[in-house]
């Protein structure tokens, strides 16, 4: 893209997990968007994408949250978030309204404008000026919604290829679900445990030092399992590496800056 063109106005969909657990992922997303020539705003009226209600069968609550989210992101050229799952949910808003409902068209419009971060950088902006170095062997987990609903597969790998010092070692079954599944992991903990154990086993086989992914739900699940198993492998969101923000402890690692950040 041309550096002279007027900045693209992006609304950041933070996602509730990034907001709560890993704010650095939000800041890394902002940094990447700015590097790619966007101005980023964070609408205050956003909360969660509504997926817990949608997948629990509560259509009414889902619709209310959808309307709130659609209204919050009115007017932005693009809506970008660091999660295939949450952006995928924004795309499902179109299924919530009847043809006659004026919200239907607004939901369709939001769908056209909303993108997962790596897909936005690569597919929409054709961005490849990654200014980061990360001297590690990494492996990458493909989160389900990003992969199957939004077609996120090559984009994070393409960007990682531009990071100085990073070697990507693919694990077997990188596309198999990690067992997070939102409320699934607490409703069916035994099955979820089997799935995440398979995943950490495969990731460990690669000899990578860091496990990367594009969805914080899956990453919290896998990082939590790695730590419980006493494995040395660390876990991070891919944008932390792409934005060169890897000086903070990885997910679930000791936080020596506790309380000093603000």
């Amino acid at each position: 893209m041309s550096v002279n063109s007027s900045p693209i106005r992006v609304g950041l969909f933070v996602t509730c997990l990034v907001d709560m657990f890993r704010p650095s992922v939000g800041f890394a997303t902002v940094k990447l968007l700015e590097q790619a020539g966007c101005t980023v705003e964070v609408p205050e009226a956003q909360t969660c994408c509504g997926q817990p209600a949608f997948n629990s069968g509560d259509r009414e609550t889902t619709r209310d949250i959808a309307k709130q989210t659609i209204a919050a992101f009115d007017g932005y050229e693009y809506v970008v978030g660091p999660s295939g799952s949450c952006i995928g949910m924004l795309h499902y808003f179109t299924d919530l309204f009847d043809e006659a409902d004026p919200w239907k068209a607004r939901a369709e419009d939001l769908k056209k404008r909303s993108f997962e971060i790596t897909s936005f950088l690569v597919d929409v902006l054709d961005f490849d000026q990654v200014l980061a170095s990360f001297d590690q062997k990494v492996t990458y987990h493909d989160s389900c919604s990003g992969l199957r609903q939004l077609g996120v597969k090559s984009q994070p790998r393409k960007l990682l290829g531009k990071v100085d010092g990073t070697e990507l070692a693919e694990m077997p079954e990188a596309e198999t679900c990690c067992g997070f599944g939102g409320t699934f992991c607490v409703k069916y903990p035994d099955i979820s445990n089997r799935m995440v154990s398979n995943k950490t086993g495969f990731a460990d086989e690669t000899g990578a030092q860091t496990l990367l992914g594009g969805d914080l739900g899956c990453l919290l699940n896998m990082a939590g399992k790695l730590k419980r198993e006493g494995k040395a492998m660390e876990a991070r969101h891919v944008v932390e590496v792409l934005a060169g923000m890897t000086d903070t402890p990885a997910i679930g690692e000791a936080d020596y800056d506790l309380g000093k950040q603000l």
Binding site: P23, F54, G57, C144, R148, Y188, M195, L220, L258
Partner: protein, 470 residues
């Protein structure tokens, strides 16, 4: 078959600890998904064929009555009989009736999931007719008084030792763990049964409207012997299996074999078109097709309409990480895996089968591999909605969603709650960066640590930064 779907969670817990079952499930991946992947790769037009098959199935479902009536009139023209059965009970009675008319003592059976659905074997036994399963997997299960755990590989939950044990006990021969010897034993046992059977019962993979033919596909050839040797052949099948022409059938056969086992074509593809005609070398004197509805016609045009496209290939369960972890019996009824999680609630009631559509991460792998592109996660979500609207969801779920929803709909309150929870978790974690045990989150912390928030919430930090800038 007794419905054990309400105990899904307990079934799953037991299955996960069953060493033999876990070993058997470990063989599944190399057996089916890897072979399918190779077959798909070898056929560049595979995904276009899936589109064609989906569209054709949709066309059939829109004209289901027309094709079924055409099928019936062709069967009748060929000298056979079609029996329309609204319920399982109708179907069982119809089949027993036919058996009794010919004074049948034993019937041989090809593999049929519809016969499992209507609980046929038990009913025939209770009424003095001995059913003998001839598919090797089904035969093993019958000896063990067991049920299928998979729709095309019914004994996939067993290991060689289990088969060896069962044969030794029932065949009264020296124990062997050589698959070739065991196969030979089964073959010898079954030969006499094929010859002596009064009635042969098979399922059908497809019904061809233009010719009145039924077709079964097998890799063992047992279906041929089941339907050609006895004097009476009964086909037990369901209404959504009809296709317009032989040409259409071949499209589905090509997709079915590749999706199921990764074969280009199943070994035996056996068509039945009416009873034996004059001059035919073999074939039954009587030919009956028992068409079961059992809730299917209620699905036409409704939320579950797409499910009627299913051709029972088993790709969804072969690729499902939940099925792969717990196996088919945990699902507690005839149809396991994603397709079962959609069908079982329709056939036995969501009150009993509520766990099934919930026990999915919605990873979407099933939809990705479905040869007729059934949106299985969407259909499972339909059941969750149905459950929620009927107030059948567990209270913890309802209250949890209600409480969370209250805040999620009020951004300012939501912020405050996030800030408080964030502070609470960081305080609990201390310098460790993670939490070993968290109140109300035992499902999580029993098996994994809970990574603690790495700082104040993004929104708190962002607002502070914006304030600093201005």
């Amino acid at each position: 078959m007794q419905i054990k779907s309400p105990e899904f969670k307990e079934n799953a817990r037991i299955a996960l600890k069953d060493v033999g079952l876990q070993k058997a499930l470990g063989n599944l991946k190399a057996g089916f998904p890897e072979k399918r992947a190779i077959a798909v790769q070898r056929m560049p037009e595979f995904h276009d064929m899936r589109d064609e098959a989906r569209d054709l199935k949709n066309h059939i479902l829109e004209n289901l009555d027309i094709y079924l009536e055409q099928f019936e009139s062709k069967v009748t023209e060929n000298g056979g009989h079609v029996h329309w059965c609204r319920t399982s009970d109708d179907a069982r009675k119809t089949i027993l009736d036919i058996c009794q008319q010919v004074d049948a003592k034993t019937v041989t059976k090809g593999k049929s999931m519809v016969s499992e659905e209507i609980n046929l074997n038990e009913y025939l036994e209770e009424n003095g007719v001995q059913p003998i399963e001839t598919d090797l997997g089904e035969y093993i299960l019958q000896l063990r008084n067991d049920h299928p755990s998979h729709i095309i590989a019914p004994a996939i939950h067993l290991n060689l030792e289990d088969v060896s044990e069962a044969f030794h006990e029932h065949h009264k021969k020296p124990k062997s763990d050589d698959p070739a010897v065991l196969m030979q034993e089964a073959r010898e046992e079954l030969r006499t049964k094929f010859v002596n059977a009064d009635v042969g019962i098979t399922g059908a993979n497809f019904l061809v409207a233009e010719t009145g033919s039924t077709i079964i596909v097998t890799n063992e050839g047992n279906g041929d012997l089941t339907q050609t040797l006895p004097k009476t052949h009964i086909v037990i099948t369901s209404i959504e299996k009809v296709v317009p022409t032989l040409e259409d059938m071949t499209l589905f056969l090509r997709l079915l074999a590749r999706s199921a086992t990764g074969q280009e074509f199943t070994v035996y593809n056996t068509l039945s078109t009416g009873p034996r005609r004059e001059g035919d070398a073999d074939g039954p004197d009587n030919f009956h097709v028992v068409l079961v509805d059992n809730g299917r016609s209620d699905m036409v045009g409704g939320e579950l309409h797409d499910m009627l496209r299913c051709i029972r290939c088993s790709a969804c369960m072969n690729h499902c990480p939940v099925y792969g972890a717990v196996g088919g019996h945990a699902y507690g009824w005839v149809y396991p895996g994603p397709m079962g999680s959609v069908l079982t609630p329709q056939m036995v009631g969501i009150e009993k089968a509520g766990n099934l559509p919930n026990a999915s991460t919605f990873c979407g792998k099933c939809e990705e591999v479905c040869p007729v592109r059934i949106p299985l996660p969407k259909l499972m979500r339909h059941w969750r909605t149905n459950e929620f609207e009927k107030h059948l969801s567990p209270k913890a779920v309802r209250w949890g969603i209600a409480g969370w929803g209250f805040f999620a709909k009020r951004p300012k309150l939501y912020r405050q709650m996030s800030n408080t929870s964030n502070w609470f978790m960081r305080t609990m974690a201390g310098k460790k960066g993670r939490i070993n045990s968290l109140p109300l989150a035992g499902g999580w912390t029993d098996f994994r640590d809970m990574p603690a928030p790495s700082g104040k919430t993004f929104m708190q930090q962002w607002q502070k930064k914006q304030g600093d800038k201005s």
